[in-house]
C-alpha cells in the first residue's frame, strides 16, 4: 500500500469519531443547549456496540445498538435540563461521570476479548485504483456515514423549514415560543440526535478503531468533539476541516517521533489541546464571525410562561 494513502487512512480513522460526535453536538448547540456529556454518551455507545457485536457476531447491529444506547442515555440529560430545568453544565458533567462508571460496569465481562471488526467496504475494482482507491472506495461504513451525516445536517439546518425552526429556538427561545414553535420538543429531538451521534462515534472506536472494549477508551475524545464545535463556530463545513486537522495532529505526532525529531513526547501529546485553545481564541476574536453563528440562547434554560 502506498505510504501516503495509508497515512491518510489512519487520519480518517482518527477523525471519524470526532466528526460524528461533533456533528451531533453541533445540532444540539444550534438548538441552544450545551450538552457536556458527549464523553459519557460516547463511551456508553462504545460499550453497547462492542457487547452487541460480540453477542450477535454482527458489527452492524453493534453500530445500531450504539446509536440507540447513546440516544437513550442522552434522554437523562434532556429530562433533567429541559423538564426539570437543571443547570446544563453540571448535568452534562454528571452524564459524563455516570457514563464512564456505568460503561465500566457493563463492560466488565467483555474486557480482554478480541472484538468483531467492522471490515472496510472494499468496492471491487474501484478500491484498486492507486492511491485514492482505498481512501475513496475502501473504507468502513461508518466513515461514509460520517460524511453523509455532516452533509445531511448542513442541508437540514440551512435549507429546511425544520432547520430554521431549530436555529430560531437556539437564537431566542422566547421569541420562538411566541411564534408558536414547540421549544422543548425541538430541543428534546436535538438532544436525542446528539446522543445517537455520540453513541455511534463511540461505536466506531470499539468496532473499527480498536475492536476491543477497554474501560475509558474514549480517552477525552468527547471533550475534543465539544471543542471542535466551537472551533468550527457552529458551521458544518468548518467542522469537517477541524476534525481532520485534529486527526492529522493525532497521527502526525507519532510520525514526528518515529522520524526522530527531538521534541519531548509530552509536548507533542499536548499539541492538539494547545491548538484548540489557539483556535478558540482566534475565532472568538473575530466578532463578526462569532456573532452570526453563535446560538444566542446557548446554555440557558427555558421555562415557558403560562
Amino acid at each position: 500500500m502506498d505510504v501516503w494513502a495509508s497515512i491518510i487512512l489512519s487520519v480518517c480513522a482518527a477523525s471519524t469519531p470526532l466528526l460524528i460526535a461533533a456533528t451531533g453536538e453541533l445540532v444540539v448547540e444550534r438548538s441552544g443547549v450545551l450538552n457536556l456529556g458527549v464523553e459519557g454518551m460516547m463511551i456508553m455507545g462504545a460499550v453497547a456496540a462492542f457487547a452487541t457485536a460480540q453477542v450477535t457476531g454482527n458489527p452492524y447491529l453493534g453500530a445500531v445498538a450504539a446509536v440507540i444506547v447513546g440516544a437513550t442515555f442522552s434522554l437523562l440529560f434532556a429530562f433533567l435540563t429541559l423538564t426539570l430545568v437543571a443547570n446544563q453544565v453540571a448535568t452534562g458533567l454528571a452524564l459524563t461521570i455516570l457514563g464512564l462508571g456505568l460503561s465500566g460496569m457493563i463492560g466488565e465481562s467483555f474486557v480482554g476479548h478480541p472484538g468483531v471488526r467492522m471490515e472496510a467496504l472494499n468496492i471491487p475494482v474501484l478500491s484498486d485504483i492507486p492511491v485514492i482507491g482505498k481512501i475513496v472506495f475502501g473504507q468502513d461504513l461508518i466513515f461514509y456515514l460520517s460524511i453523509a451525516l455532516l452533509a445531511g445536517v448542513a442541508w437540514f439546518l440551512f435549507k429546511t423549514r425544520a432547520g430554521l425552526m431549530l436555529r430560531s429556538v437556539g437564537d431566542s427561545h422566547n421569541s420562538a415560543h411566541a411564534l408558536g414553535i414547540q421549544v422543548i420538543k425541538i430541543r428534546y429531538m436535538a438532544i436525542l440526535f446528539g446522543g445517537g451521534c455520540a453513541g455511534l462515534a463511540g461505536g466506531h472506536l470499539s468496532l473499527v478503531y480498536v475492536p476491543q472494549w477497554v474501560e475509558g477508551m474514549t480517552a477525552g475524545r468527547g471533550w475534543i468533539a465539544l471543542a471542535l464545535v466551537v472551533f468550527a463556530s457552529w458551521r458544518p463545513g468548518r467542522l469537517l476541516v477541524g476534525a481532520y486537522l485534529f486527526g492529522a495532529v493525532t497521527i502526525g505526532q507519532f510520525h514526528v517521533q518515529a522520524i526522530g525529531v527531538p521534541i519531548p513526547a509530552q509536548f507533542l501529546t499536548s499539541l492538539p489541546y494547545l491548538a484548540t485553545i489557539v483556535v478558540l481564541v482566534l475565532i472568538a476574536r473575530n466578532r463578526r464571525l462569532t456573532m452570526i453563528n453563535t446560538p444566542a440562547a446557548l446554555g440557558t434554560s427555558f421555562v415557558p410562561d403560562r
Binding site: 505510504v3 495509508s6 497515512i7 489512519s10 482518527a14 466488565e108 465481562s109 474486557v111 480482554g112 478480541p114 471488526r117 472506536l205 478503531y209 480498536v210 475492536p211 476491543q212 477497554v214 474501560e215 477508551m217 480517552a219 493525532t250 497521527i251 507519532f254 510520525h255 517521533q257 518515529a258 522520524i259 526522530g260 527531538p262 519531548p264 513526547a265 509530552q266 501529546t269
Partner: protein, 358 residues
C-alpha cells in the same frame, strides 16, 4: 466475573468485631494489589493468573482477594493498609510505584508479610521484593525480528523511559544485531501503560514509517490487532496474545508469576517465610516464551536454541562487546554487565534509532 471473595457471614463477623484479626482466620489469606484491570490481557492479567494458581494449588487452605486499578502513588497506601487490617497474611503489590507505600504499610503492620514486585527497597524485615528478567525474552524476539524483517527495521512502542523499558529495548536490539549487525529499531513513546487507541495510532505510524515487525512495552493488545490488519508480524507482551492475532503473533513473553506466588504463600502457611530479593528469569520458569508461530522452522529452531542457552546460563544478553549509542564502549569483549547498571539502565546501545527521553 467477580468472585465473591468473602463469605457473607465471615465478613459480617469481621464487621462486627470492628477490627479484623489475622488470627481469627484458620485459612491463610493472600491479597493482591493490581495497577490495571484483571482483564487487560497483559501485566495485571498475568498477576491474576498467579493468584488463581494459588487458589487452585492450595485449595481451601487459602483465600485470596484483590483490588484492581489502584493508582500508582501515595494513594496506594490506604488500600494496602486496608488489606493488612482486613486480615491478609501476605500482600503482593504488583507495580513499581507501590514501593514507598508498601514499605510504609509494612512498617505499620509487622505481622503481615509484604511482597513488592519490581522494586528494590526493603525497609523492614517483613517485606520482600521480586522481579523477572523479561529482557531475556526481548533478546530472543530481537533475533527473530532480524531473521524475518525484510526492511531491516523493527518498531517498538514504549511506555515510559524507566530502566525496565530501556533494558527491554536494548536487549531487543542486541538480539537483532547478533543476527544482522545493521538492524535498526524505531521507538515511539506513548506515555501510557494502557491506552489502546493511542497504542494503535503509534503502531500505524511505525508501520507507515517502514517497520515490518512490531513489538511493544505497553499492556494492551491494540498493536497486535493493527499489525494483523496491516498484514505484518508482531510480538505479544506480558501475556500470550495469540487470539488477538492468530496469523500475526510470532511469540510473546509470558510473565508467569504462578510458581513464585504459590511458593511464597506456602512459605507463609508453613511459617518459613523470610525476607528475600529475587530476580527470576527463564531458568526459574518466570519468563516463558509463547509458542513460536507464523515463522519458518529454521527461525523457530534458532529461537528455541537461544532461549535454551539463556535458560541454562550459557548465554547472557548483556555480554560485551557492546557499544553505547553515543559511540563509547560499555562492555568489553566477553564482559558481562553488573546488576546495578542493568537495574538503573538509562542509556541506549548502538543501533537504536531514537533519542532516549531524559
Amino acid at each position: 466475573m467477580k468472585k465473591t471473595l468473602f463469605a457473607l457471614a465471615a465478613s459480617c463477623a469481621v464487621m462486627l468485631s470492628g477490627q479484623a484479626l489475622a488470627d481469627s482466620h484458620a485459612k491463610t489469606k493472600a491479597c493482591f494489589i493490581y495497577i490495571g484491570p484483571t482483564g487487560d490481557f497483559g501485566w495485571t492479567y498475568q498477576h491474576d493468573q498467579g493468584r488463581l494458581a494459588v487458589e487452585a494449588e492450595l485449595g481451601d487452605k487459602v483465600e485470596t482477594a484483590y483490588l484492581e486499578n489502584v493508582p500508582e502513588s501515595a494513594e496506594a497506601q490506604r488500600p494496602i493498609e486496608a488489606f493488612a487490617r482486613s486480615g491478609c497474611n501476605i500482600i503482593f503489590t504488583t507495580s513499581f510505584n507501590y514501593m514507598d507505600p508498601t514499605n510504609k504499610a509494612a512498617k505499620k503492620h509487622p505481622k503481615v508479610k509484604f511482597e513488592h514486585a519490581t522494586g528494590f527497597k526493603r525497609e523492614s524485615a517483613n517485606i520482600s521484593t521480586y522481579s523477572s528478567k523479561f529482557y531475556q525474552g526481548r533478546y530472543v524476539q530481537g533475533q527473530i525480528a532480524a531473521k524475518l524483517s525484510k526492511t531491516g527495521v523493527a518498531g517498538y512502542i514504549a511506555s515510559f523511559p524507566i530502566p525496565e523499558v530501556v533494558r527491554g529495548i536494548n536487549a531487543f536490539i542486541l538480539g537483532a544485531q547478533s543476527v544482522n549487525p545493521d538492524f535498526k529499531l524505531k521507538v515511539v513513546w506513548v506515555s501510557t501503560w494502557f491506552d489502546p487507541p493511542k497504542e494503535a495510532d503509534a503502531a500505524k505510524a511505525l508501520i507507515d514509517q517502514g517497520v515490518d515487525i512490531i513489538t511493544q512495552h505497553t499492556d494492551s493488545t491494540a498493536a497486535m490487532q493493527v499489525a494483523s490488519e496491516r498484514g505484518i508480524k508482531a510480538f505479544g507482551q506480558a501475556s500470550d496474545m495469540i487470539k488477538f492475532g492468530p496469523n500475526t503473533q510470532l511469540t510473546a513473553i509470558i510473565d508467569d508469576w504462578a510458581p513464585y506466588y504459590v511458593e511464597r504463600v506456602k512459605a507463609v502457611m508453613e511459617g518459613t517465610w523470610e525476607q528475600q530479593d529475587v530476580w527470576h528469569g527463564m531458568a526459574d520458569g518466570n519468563v516463558v516464551m509463547a509458542p513460536y508461530t507464523n515463522m519458518p522452522d529454521d527461525v523457530a529452531a534458532m529461537a528455541t536454541k537461544t532461549a535454551a542457552a539463556i535458560k541454562d546460563g550459557s548465554l547472557e544478553p548483556f555480554t560485551g562487546p557492546v557499544t553505547k549509542q553515543d559511540g563509547s564502549e560499555w562492555l568489553k569483549d566477553g564482559e558481562k554487565s553488573d546488576i546495578g547498571t542493568l537495574l538503573g539502565m538509562n542509556f541506549y546501545v548502538k543501533g537504536v534509532d531514537d533519542k532516549l527521553p531524559q
